[in-house]
């Protein structure tokens, strides 16, 4: 490995990135802008979910219950309807996300403590707002039952405290994210996804040199394969690291995400991740002859998996075994663990070392395979 060769390639590549201002601005801006846009989408708190109510009971109790359900900003009473057909129609049009149906003997059953005969119909294609409506109605129903029970007990005048009717005192505490807001952990996770973007740029650079013929002139020089590939990657690691400084700041200032760990450690581990993911980009670049091909393949092996399969949105533990293996072989999975760990519990290397080792191993393996598969030949 000649340091001089490496430095020459790095300098050339940096000049290449800097000289085309528009591309430079985009390369720098896109990851941060993406984080900003997606983080913003995640800060949207679900409220004002439209529902319809079909009240067969029409009793004072049912009216009180409806009143209680639609109070506040969470659910909006879109319509009181008279038939199931109306509900069907409204759900199909997407005008409501859920419907509450109160059975004819609602008041009777509730007051005699036989149960709470109500039905919720929910739009199964909208699980976010639908699920929210179900949880909300369920919660209100529980409160309603407690009140009914309390009055019933008072009427019976038995020596039972209300507390003992909820015999298990469930105390839930969510560590690191007390109100379990998705954005608190998904935003750090997304950093791993958007930091993968430079890898797509790296995949393009080799094809760019192929298409423009500049590769031919480099191939006749004595430059080493690893020197050339690393030299092309390092400038993009620098670009990525600039984003590593900006992104936690945005997460903290704009979206109020805590950062409990050590920033120098985070910076260092981000560099390791960038090395791993950019090697992956380089590997794609080595095999793809043109820029569109390199782009298409890196979309398939870097972008989409980085989005869906790194455990940011969907837990890896719940994936099928084969997909779990696939997820563990993606650099983004390990880095997402690192970002969440450093941001939230604020853990250090003592906890994260297996992920760091995995990233280092991937980076070295991908670079080695790329350098070995990269023939200093044309065609």
């Amino acid at each position: 490995m000649s340091f001089r060769h490496l430095r020459a390639v790095i300098r050339k590549e940096i000049n290449h990135i800097l000289r085309d201002r528009t591309t430079f601005v985009l390369v720098m801006l896109v990851p941060t802008a993406m984080l900003f846009i997606m983080a913003y989408a995640l800060t949207v708190d679900i409220k004002h979910v439209p529902i319809a109510v079909l009240d067969y009971d029409r009793s004072p109790t049912s009216r009180a219950f409806i009143q209680q359900v639609t109070e506040g900003e969470d659910l909006d009473l879109y319509a009181q309807v008279d038939s199931l057909d109306d509900i069907d129609n409204l759900l199909t049009r997407g005008e409501i996300k859920a419907a509450l149906i109160i059975a004819p003997d609602f008041e009777h059953d509730l007051l005699s403590l036989r149960g709470i005969p109500l039905q919720i119909i929910v739009d199964g294609t909208e699980p976010k707002s639908g699920g929210f409506a179900v949880d909300h109605i369920g919660g209100r129903a529980e409160e309603f039952i407690s009140e009914a029970l309390a009055s019933r007990i008072r009427a019976l005048n038995v020596n039972v405290s209300l507390d003992s009717l909820q015999p298990i005192d469930l105390r839930v505490r969510a560590l690191y994210n007390p109100s379990l807001k998705p954005r608190v952990d998904i935003i750090p996770g997304l950093i791993s996804m958007v930091l993968g973007f430079p890898a797509l740029s790296v995949a393009l650079t080799l094809a760019h040199e192929r298409e423009h013929g500049t590769l031919e002139q480099v191939l006749v020089t004595p430059v080493g394969r690893a020197e050339f590939l690393l030299g092309k990657m390092i400038p993009y690691i620098i670009v990525g690291l600039a984003n590593v400084i900006i992104m936690p700041a945005i997460a903290r200032v704009t979206f109020h995400i805590p950062f409990n760990g050590s920033f120098p450690l985070f910076f260092l581990l981000s560099a390791v991740f960038l090395f791993a993911i950019l090697s992956m980009g380089m590997l794609v670049g080595v095999f793809m002859p043109t820029q569109p091909a390199a782009l298409a393949l890196s979309f398939l092996v870097i972008f989409f998996p980085g989005f869906f399969m790194t455990g940011i949105f969907f837990p890896i533990a719940s994936m099928p075994a084969e997909m779990r293996m696939e997820a563990m072989s993606l650099p983004g999975t390990h880095y997402a663990t690192i970002t969440r760990g450093v941001f939230l519990p604020g853990v250090g290397l003592d906890v994260l070392w297996p992920n760091v080792l995995a990233l280092l191993g991937m980076g070295i393996a991908f670079t080695a395979v790329a350098a070995l598969s990269f023939r200093k030949k044309l065609g």
């Binding site: 060769h5 500049t214 006749v220 020089t221 430059v223 030949k377």
Partner: protein, 317 residues
């Protein structure tokens, strides 16, 4: 000095049955080539004859399908990296970094070729001066004219003072003045001892080479010095400028003693067995058919006629 008497000097480039196949075609077919140190060797042939593939093979840019080759004493298949320090290769199209300046391109290649840092400054300045690029050294390569781009590319291939230069049509698309300058540079380099292998579509350039190889369908069909190639033309040459060249061409081809008629725009080159005998006959025939013409004369055959004549004969076979 004649090279025939210098046989004891080992060749600097030597190939034996060098062959390269692409998917559907055999681009280079059993090439045997021997080039001595200090030679200026020209590669000519029609498009697709395998000139570029030959040069790329010698530069180590392509894998060999079969056969063997030695360049600068190293085996081409086994020691391509060792060869790279000894050669300079310049591709047909502009292959430098357009967004880098002239100077940045030069220093990039200087670094990759490990040019001694102590010599770097002096050598860069000399090459810039030599290529006439000193005042443009901060201009981006993409903004240079075609001729200047070629000279910059040559300067970049010379930065490590290679023993062998492999140049693929270095003057294609360059204006005549730049072309001449470029060849003056090549001649100087050659006189200084650099071995040069150059492919060219221009026969006047081939004429400046010490030896010329004519390639056709991947094979080297003739390899000799320019005089010998010219001498291979059978018969003598008459040049004339008829007003209706198509009719004149058809007529002359049917005359006895006419071996071949070549057209150059509206000029006709007629190869005949004996010019003294056939020239009056042609003039008579043209007059008889009412075909007017100007400037009929005997000329000595050039590389160009020799080349076309050789190719024609190959195409007939």
């Amino acid at each position: 000095m004649s090279f025939e008497s210098a046989n004891e000097v080992p060749p600097i480039i030597e190939t034996h049955a060098l062959t390269r196949d692409f998917k559907k075609t055999r681009a280079v077919d059993s090439l045997d080539l021997s080039i001595r140190p200090g030679e200026l060797f020209g590669l000519v042939g029609p498009d697709g004859a395998g000139k570029t593939t030959t040069l790329r093979l010698l530069a180590g840019l392509l894998n060999i399908t079969s056969g063997s080759a030695k360049v600068a004493g190293y085996d081409l298949a086994r020691q391509p990296e060792a060869i790279k320090r000894k050669i300079g290769y310049m591709a047909q199209q502009f292959n430098l970094y357009g967004e880098l300046s002239v100077l940045e391109n030069l220093s990039f290649f200087a670094d990759l070729y490990d040019v001694e840092v102590s010599e770097l400054r002096e050598r860069t300045e000399r090459l810039l001066a030599f290529a006439g690029l000193t005042e443009f050294k901060d201009r981006r390569a993409a903004q240079l004219s075609g001729g200047m781009q070629k000279k910059l590319a040559l300067a970049c291939t010379l930065i490590h003072q290679p023993e062998i230069l492999l140049l693929d049509e270095p003057t294609t698309g360059v204006d005549p003045i730049s072309r001449r300058e470029f060849w003056d540079i090549l001649t100087d380099l050659n006189l200084a001892g650099t071995t040069i292998v150059v492919s060219t579509p221009y026969m006047d350039e081939a004429d400046r080479c010490l030896r010329v190889g004519l390639m056709y369908e991947g094979r080297m069909v003739v390899c000799a010095d320019p005089q010998q190639i010219r001498a291979r033309i059978e018969g003598e040459l008459i040049e004339l400028r008829p007003d209706d060249w198509q009719a004149a061409c058809a007529l002359i081809e049917s005359l006895p003693g006419v071996l071949e008629v070549q057209t150059y725009g509206n000029l006709l080159h007629v190869l005949v067995d004996s010019a003294d005998k056939r020239l009056p006959e042609i003039e008579t025939a043209l007059r008889k058919h009412g075909l007017t013409y100007r400037g009929v004369r005997r000329v000595t055959p050039r590389m160009e006629e020799a080349f076309i004549s050789l190719i024609r004969r190959l195409e007939v076979d």
